[in-house]
């Protein structure tokens, strides 16, 4: 029987792909400037690659620890150190559209983890912080257990990431 993927799912895949790009660039940029993220990644081994993918055919994004920062690799290589797989596009859409926090995604088994669990926790903390940067408070309060109060420096960084970080990755 010929299989047709519904238009709705196709649109959701494109949406997730775009959010992955934005998230990847935002993490790359923030990992250079944000002390909390630098503190988190300090303990990741150099060259460590983490990928987030949607089963079974993507989209997919990867980040590599390089020179103390995280570099966005696009879809990235097949062989990675930590692989977080969303079970299907519906699961991924919930998390990437901001309807559900990444921790809640784990709690609801929306994704599976292959590899080092301690690094996956560290990654969740990073994504939580990025979500606080990217979303207005009214949304981020639903996504993370506790929204940290941002310092003046962090407010500035938030603007920087949105205006310069995401377009350029610097």
């Amino acid at each position: 029987m010929k299989k047709t993927i519904s238009l709705e799912k196709k649109i959701k895949k494109i949406f997730v792909k775009i959010v992955m790009f934005v998230l990847g660039k935002a993490i790359q940029s923030a990992s250079r400037w944000d002390s909390i993220i630098r503190h988190e990644t300090a303990r990741w081994p150099d060259g460590f690659i983490v990928a987030l993918e949607v089963l079974p055919w993507g989209p997919r994004m990867s980040l590599k620890k390089q020179d103390g920062c995280l570099k966005y690799l696009g879809a990235g290589p097949g062989d990675v150190n930590l692989l977080i797989s969303f079970k299907n596009i519906e699961c991924a859409f919930l998390v990437f559209s901001g309807l559900m926090g990444s921790e809640q995604g784990f709690i609801e088994h929306r994704m599976t983890v292959k590899g080092d669990l301690a690094v996956s926790l560290s990654l969740i903390r990073i994504i939580n912080l990025i979500e606080v940067y990217l979303y207005p408070g009214i949304i981020s309060r639903r996504l993370v257990k506790k929204v940290p109060g941002l310092s003046m420096k962090q407010h500035a960084l938030r603007l920087y990431i949105m205006l310069i970080g995401i377009p350029t990755g610097i």
């Binding site: 609801e108 929306r110 599976t112 983890v113 301690a118 257990k145 506790k146």
Partner: protein, 394 residues
């Protein structure tokens, strides 16, 4: 209220009752194997429990392929390698693990090494790294606590690099768990209390935490009620077989509960304290449990209050106003703590448990690396963890 989505799995066959161990030949026959390897420790041998299993197998067509009876309390990579060699050279085809957490974890580790035909377990560290169904596995717990007989987790120490290697995979779930009161009759009072408090913590944390679901709730509340009703008697009258079997059942139910809805802050604190100061897991659980409940009061007051029913019984539950049930539930856990302290000297503070005060900072830091925090209702940062550690200190 139902969670918007959840998952639950427990494929382990539970065989419970007096002389249940004598069903091993039947169960292994059902699994299609003939030469089990027994993995156990010296404590089990000394208590005459290995003999019980050997007697059961002697009267059957099974042959014991090999016995490894010197599993150390902290299962290590070297031991796994050694046992895997014995397993291969004796052409065994299945595992019987007898003991507390360590024998079971070690046997699970060996099972990975055998099935993947590789002594390099580091390739399989983490979640869902196993690709193949493992060899048939029968678990016989000799403490009523860890719940390892129904969990998909194994922790093996890499003593060379001084790290603990966690493995989780649904393939690590044993095929059969055998609960026979004979296997826990000789457990000393203090160990009985500590392991029961570990089981109690599994049940309470799984009921409070964010991954709770109706299936795990049912197991958790049933376990709490049984532990509450039996733990003191098990400490005072260790030879009471009914009490022992009840506790063994409760520990297994609590194991099924937390295997499906995870644990929280209490376990994160316990893992970190155990890792750094070698406080036995059950003792750490007993010390931290009321603090963990208190810490989550704001976010989980309702569900903590519901625990008053299994913890305190229907009468107390009915005459306690809804608004103060959570505090009443915590009070009962504290009372249980003092009872166990007076009956068998179970430590109530970190100081009693031999933790040096100057280690608290280091423990708080290690807490942040523990996966259980994700499932805790209230957010936890390092300063929060340190605050709880200080409260639990003396």
């Amino acid at each position: 209220m139902l969670p918007s989505y959840y998952e639950f799995i427990n494929p382990v066959k539970i065989v419970s009752g007096n002389k249940a161990v004598d069903n091993i030949p039947y169960e292994l026959n059902q699994l299609g194997v003939k030469r089990p390897m027994i993995v156990t420790d010296q404590g089990v041998v000394m208590a005459g429990l290995l003999k019980v299993v050997e007697n059961a197998i002697a009267d059957s067509e099974l042959a014991i392929g090999a016995v490894y009876d010197t599993t150390p309390p902290d299962s290590s990579l070297e031991v796994v390698k050694e046992i895997a060699g014995i397993y291969r050279s004796n052409r065994c085809d299945s595992f019987i693990a007898i003991g507390g957490g360590s024998s079971m974890d070690t046997a699970k580790g060996v099972n990975i090494a055998i099935t993947e035909n590789s002594d390099d377990l580091s390739r399989f560290i983490g979640a869902e790294m196993l690709k193949n169904r493992l060899q048939p596995f029968v678990a016989i717990p000799t403490t009523a606590g860890t719940g390892s007989e129904v969990t998909s987790v194994a922790v093996i120490s890499d003593t060379e690099n001084n790290v603990k290697m966690p493995f989780t995979s649904h393939y690590l779930l044993p095929n059969v768990a055998i609960l026979d009161p004979r296997m826990t009759l000789t457990l000393p009072p203090k160990l009985t209390a500590a392991t029961a408090m570990d089981a109690m913590t599994h049940a309470i944390e799984s009921f409070i935490n964010l991954q709770k679901n109706p299936m795990s709730d049912a197991y958790a509340t049933a376990a709490i009620k049984i532990i509450r009703e039996n733990v003191v008697n098990a400490v005072k009258n260790g030879k009471d077989a009914d009490t022992r079997l009840a506790l063994a059942n409760a520990a297994t139910m609590a194991g099924i509960a937390f295997s499906n809805s995870m644990v929280g802050l209490v376990h994160s604190l316990g893992h970190a304290t155990g890792g750094i100061c070698h406080v036995p897991h059950g003792i750490a659980m007993s010390i931290f449990l009321p603090f963990g409940m208190e810490y989550n009061l704001e976010k989980a007051r309702g569900v903590i209050g519901e625990l008053l029913l299994p913890l305190g019984g229907s009468e107390l539950f009915a005459c306690t106003p809804k608004t103060s049930r959570a505090e009443a539930a915590i009070k009962i856990v504290r009372k249980l703590q003092t009872d166990l302290y007076s009956f068998c000297g179970l430590p109530m503070t970190l100081k009693d448990a031999g933790v040096p005060r100057n280690k608290l900072e280091q423990i708080a830091q290690a807490v942040m690396d523990d996966g259980a925090l994700t499932f805790n209702p209230e957010a936890v940062n390092q300063a929060d963890a340190l605050r709880v550690l200080k409260m639990a200190y003396e």
